[in-house]
Amino acid sequence: MELYLAFKIVWWLLLGVLLIALAVMVGMDMGVGTLLRFVGRTDLERRVVLNTIGPHWDGNQVWFVLGGGAIFAAFPLIYATAFSGLYIVMLVLLWTMIVRPLSFEYRSKLPSTRWRNLWDWALVVSGLVPMVIYGAAIGNMLRGVPFHFSWNLTSYYTGSFLGLLNPFAVMCGLLSLALSIYMGGVMLAGRTEDVLHRRATQAAKWAVMVALVLFTIGGAWVSVMDGYRLISGPAAGAAQSPLHQVVSLSAGAWWDNYRAVPVLWLVPALGYVGMLLGLSAIRAGRTTLAWWSGALAWVGVISTAGVSLFPFLMPSSTDPSQSLTIWNSISSLRTLIWMTGFAAVFVPTIVAYTSWSFYVMRGKVNAQQVEADTHAY
C-alpha cells in the first residue's frame, strides 16, 4: 500500500514532467507557427522561419502524442473522462494539429503563392489554437468540469462546448499562448539573422510581458474562486474508484496547499523568476539563456496549477464527490511499475538523441542555405 502510494506520487510528478516537456517543446514550435507571418514577411523569410524547426518539429510533436499515451496508461480514467467530456474542444485541437504535418511537408512543394499562403495560414492557426486549448483545458480543471459517473463508471458530460470557454479558462489559454509565442520568438531570435532576428526578439519581449500580467491575474483569480477540498475517502495509497469519497467546494480552497506548506510558494515564484530572467535575457540578446528561462517559466506555471489542484486532477462540478484525484484515477501498481521502468530507460535516451539532433543541426539558418538545400522546406 505504501509502495502504491509512492508510485502514485511518482506518476503525478511524471505527468507534470510530461505536460511541461509538451509545453516547452511543442509550445516552441507552435509559437514559431503563430509568428510565421509576423516574423516572415516574404516567402523566403517564411521558409527560413520554417527551416529553423524543420528538422525538429516532428520529434517535438511526439511529446503531444506521448501525452495522450502516457495519460492513457497511467491515468486511464482521466484519459477516458477528460477527452470525451471535452469532445468538441478535442476535435478542434486534433483538426488543427492534423494540419501541421501537412503544412510543413507540403507548403514549399509547389511554387504557387496561393498554395503557400494557404499552408502558412494553416500553420498560424495550428500554432495558435492548440496552445489556447492547452491552457484552457488546465484552466477548466481548476474550474471543475461538469461530468458524473453511473454505477459502472460510465461517464456523462453535462456541460456545453461554450461552457468550456469561460473567462478564466480563456485567460489560462492566453497565458499558454503568450508563453509559447515567447519560446517560439526566442528560438527564432537565436537561429536567424538581421530583420528576422529583430522581429522575433520584439515578439518574444511583448509575449513574456503579457504572460507576466496574465500569470499574476490568474493567481489572484484562483485565490478567490471556488476550489475543491477532499474531506474523506479511501486511503490515498489504496486501490479505489471515484464513487466512495466526499468532496466539498469552497472559495479559496485552491490556495490550501500553499497555506499548509508555505515553502510551496517557491513554485509560483519559479514562474516569475523564469519570466523576469527571460525578459532581461532576451533584451540582452542572450537567446540561449532566454530559452532556458522560458522553460523554467513553464515549469513554474504548470507546477503552480498542479500544486493548487493536488490531489485533484479533474474535479467534477456536477457532483464534486465524484471528482477525479490522483488516488482514484491512476493505474494499478503493476502497470505503474512497468511504465516507470520503460520511462526510466527511454526518457533519458530520448533527451540524449533529441539533444544530439539539435547539436547536428545547430547554427543560424539563412536564405542562402535554404535556397541551396533541395531537402529544405
Binding site: G54, P55, H56, D58, G59, Q61, V62, F64, V65, L66, G68, G69, A70, F72, A73, P76, L77, Y79, A80, A82, F83, S84, Y87, I88, L91, L94, W95, I98, R100, P101, L102, E105, Y106, K109, W151, N152, L153, T154, S155, Y156, A239, Q240, S241, L243, S331, S332, T335, M339, F342, A343, F346, I350, Y353, T354, S357, V360, M361, D373, H375, A376
Partner: protein, 545 residues
C-alpha cells in the same frame, strides 16, 4: 442509457479514421526498410546512383509519411474521445503499449526522420545510414506496440477484473506482450507493409522504364523491389496462415464467419471457396465447396472439430446465463465494495461478466435482472460477426495476396534475366498493381476488426458498452468533419504524389551522369555485378527476419 445510433456512429468514425490511417502506415513501414536497404548499398558501394535512388524514394516517402503522422494523431486520442468506457475499463492494460509505442518508437522515428531529411550535408555517410536505419526501426517498433495493444483486444491475455476499481487490470506484462495473436499479427502486418512498398516502388519504376526515363534508377529500383517483394509476399502468406491457426483457437466466431460455417460439421470439414451467406437465415444461399480441405487448412490436422455458428451460439447462451449473476453482483459491489455475498457471487461468475454485459443491452431498462429468454437468445446471436462481410473481405485479401505473389515471381524472373525493360506488357501492368496491396491491407483490417465483433475486448467487453455517451448531433458533426478533412488531405496527397512521380528524380539523375559506374547496366552474372545484387538481396532478407 446508451444510444445505439451513437454506438454505430462511433464505430463508423473509428473505422473511417483507422482505415484512412492504415492507407499510409503500411507504405511508411515498408518504404522505411527499403530506404535503409538502398542506402546500405550506397554505403557499401559508394556509387552515387544509390544515393540518388535513396533520396528520390525518400522524397515520396515523406509525402506519404506526413499524412501517416497527421492521421495517427487522431488515433492516439480517439479511444478517449469516443471510446470512453472502453478506455476506463481496460486502460490499465491497453494504455501501456500505446505509451511505450510513443517512448520507444515514435520519438525514434520522428526525431531521426528530421535528420534523415535535413542531415545529408551534415552527417557522414555512415552516420546518415545509421539514422535511416533508426527511422526504419522506429516505424517497425511502432507496429509492434500497436499490435500488442490490438492483440489484447483480440485475445485478452495477462489481465483480470478488479471489482474494487471496477476495471480490468494487468496481471502479467509478459503474457500481454507475448500474446501469440499479437506476435503473429505484428510479423504479418509489418511484412504486409514491405509488400506494399515493394509494389509501390516496382510499379513506379516500371512506369519510368515504359517511358524510357531514368532507366538507371528505375531498373535498379525495380530489381530491389522485386526481390524484396517476392520474399515479403511469401512471408505474409505464411504468417497469415499462422494467424488463422492462432486466431482459430482464440476466436472461433471470427473463424466461423470468415469461412461461412453455419453448422458444425464432422472433421475434416469442407472449404467454401465461394458462397453467398445470409445471416438472417443462418445459411449460405449458394456455395462452391471443396470437400475435406478446411480442417487441415486451419488446424493443420485432419480430425479437429471446427465449431460452426450453431455451436458458438449455444455456448454463448450458457455463458450469458452465468454472466447475469456476475453483473448483478458487480452492481452491488459498486455501492458496497465489502459485501461478502456479492463478492462470492462475483468470483463464481466473473469469467462470464462480458456475456452478462452482452444481454444487458436488450434487457428492460438495461438492467440484467429484467433479461428474458428472448433477450438471451438475441444476445447470443450477436456473438456472430457479420458473416457476409467477413467471408468476402477475407477472400478479397487472400486473392490480392496470391495475385501479388504471382506478380513478384514473374517480376523477379524478368529482372534477373535482365530483359524486364523489354517486357512491355508487364511494365504496363505493373503500375496498375499499386492499389492491390492497399486493398489487401484494408481488407485485412476489416477481417481482423469486424471479426472481433460484437466485442471491443474479445469475450470481456461488448462494443455497445464501450462508446462515449455523446449526442447523435456531436457524432454526426465529428464524423462528417473527419471524413471531409481526410478526403481533402488524401486528394492533396495523391496530387502531390503523382506530380512528384511524373517529375521524377532531380534533373541531374540520369544514366549519363554516372560514367564511373559504367554507362550500361551490367548484366546479371557479369563479373563485379554479383556484389551489389547479392548485397541488396541479403539486406532485404535480413530485414525480413
Amino acid at each position: 442509457m446508451i444510444n445505439n445510433t451513437v454506438v454505430e456512429l462511433s464505430r463508423l468514425q473509428f473505422a473511417a479514421t483507422a482505415l484512412y490511417h492504415f492507407l499510409f502506415v503500411p507504405l511508411t513501414l515498408g518504404l522505411s526498410v527499403m530506404l535503409a536497404t538502398m542506402e546500405t548499398v550506397y554505403f557499401i558501394t559508394g556509387r552515387k546512383i544509390y544515393r540518388d535512388i535513396t533520396q528520390f524514394w525518400g522524397k515520396l516517402f515523406l509525402i506519404n509519411f506526413a499524412l501517416g503522422v497527421a492521421t495517427g494523431l487522431t488515433m492516439e486520442f480517439e479511444f478517449g474521445t469516443n471510446w470512453s468506457f472502453y478506455s476506463g475499463f481496460v486502460g490499465d492494460i491497453f494504455g501501456a503499449p500505446l505509451a511505450i509505442e510513443g517512448l520507444m518508437a515514435f520519438f525514434l522515428e520522428a526525431t531521426f526522420i528530421g535528420l534523415m531529411t535535413f542531415g545529408w550535408q551534415r552527417l557522414s555517410r555512415g552516420t546518415h545510414l545509421l539514422v535511416t536505419f533508426l527511422v526504419a526501426l522506429g516505424s517497425n517498433l511502432s507496429a509492434l506496440w500497436i499490435l500488442v495493444a490490438n492483440g489484447f483486444m483480440q485475445d485478452p491475455q495477462g489481465a483480470a477484473f478488479n471489482p474494487v476499481t471496477m476495471r480490468m487490470e494487468l496481471t502479467s506484462f509478459g503474457a500481454l506482450i507475448f500474446s501469440p495473436d499479437a506476435q503473429t499479427k505484428f510479423v504479418h502486418t509489418s511484412i504486409a507493409g514491405y509488400v506494399t512498398a515493394a509494389i509501390f516502388v516496382s510499379g513506379i519504376s516500371a512506369f519510368y522504364m515504359l517511358r524510357g526515363r531514368h532507366m538507371e534508377l528505375a531498373r535498379r529500383s525495380f530489381r530491389m523491389a522485386a526481390l524484396f517483394g517476392v520474399l515479403a509476399t511469401a512471408g505474409v502468406i505464411t504468417l497469415g496462415d499462422a494467424l488463422g491457426f492462432v486466431g482459430g483457437h482464440a476466436q472461433p466466431s471470427k473463424l466461423a464467419a470468415m469461412e461461412g460455417m453455419w453448422k458444425t460439421e464432422p472433421a475434416p470439414a469442407p472449404f467454401n471457396l465461394a458462397a453467398w451467406p445470409v445471416q438472417s437465415e443462418q445459411r449460405n444461399a449458394w456455395k462452391l465447396q471443396i470437400p475435406y480441405v478446411l480442417t487441415p487448412l486451419l488446424t493443420h490436422s485432419l480430425d479437429a472439430i471446427l465449431p460452426g455458428v450453431d455451436t458458438i451460439e449455444a455456448d454463448a447462451v450458457k455463458r450469458i446465463r452465468s454472466g447475469i449473476p456476475a453483473v448483478q453482483a458487480l452492481r452491488v459491489l459498486s455501492a458496497h465494495p465489502d459485501d461478502a455475498a456479492a463478492l462470492a457471487q462475483f468470483e463464481h461468475h466473473k469469467d462470464d461478466l462480458g456475456f452478462g454485459f452482452l444481454v444487458q443491452r436488450y434487457a428492460a431498462q438495461q438492467d440484467v435482472s429484467n433479461a428474458t429468454e428472448a433477450d438471451i437468445v438475441r444476445a447470443s446471436k450477436d456473438t456472430i460477426p457479420n458473416v457476409f462481410a467477413m467471408f468476402w473481405s477475407f477472400r478479397l485479401m487472400v486473392a490480392c495476396g496470391l495475385l501479388m505473389l504471382a506478380y513478384f515471381v514473374v517480376a523477379v524472373i524478368f529482372s534477373l534475366r535482365g530483359d524486364i525493360h523489354r517486357q512491355r506488357w508487364f511494365l504496363k501492368l505493373a503500375p496498375w498493381m499499386i492499389p492491390i496491396p492497399f486493398i489487401a491491407c484494408e481488407m485485412g483490417w476489416v477481417t481482423a476488426e469486424v471479426g472481433r465483433q460484437p466485442w471491443t475486448v474479445f469475450g470481456i467487453l461488448p462494443t455497445w458498452m464501450s462508446a462515449s455517451s455523446h449526442s447523435v448531433a456531436y457524432m454526426v458533426f465529428s464524423l462528417v468533419g473527419f471524413v471531409l478533412l481526410y478526403s481533402i488531405f488524401i486528394v492533396i496527397e495523391m496530387f502531390l504524389m503523382i506530380k512528384f512521380i511524373r517529375k521524377g528524380p532531380e534533373p541531374h539523375v540520369t544514366g549519363a551522369q554516372y560514367p564511373i559506374d559504367g554507362p550500361t547496366l551490367p548484366r546479371p552474372g557479369a563479373p563485379g555485378r554479383g556484389l551489389v545484387d547479392g548485397l541488396s538481396v541479403s539486406a532485404s532478407a535480413s530485414s525480413m527476419e
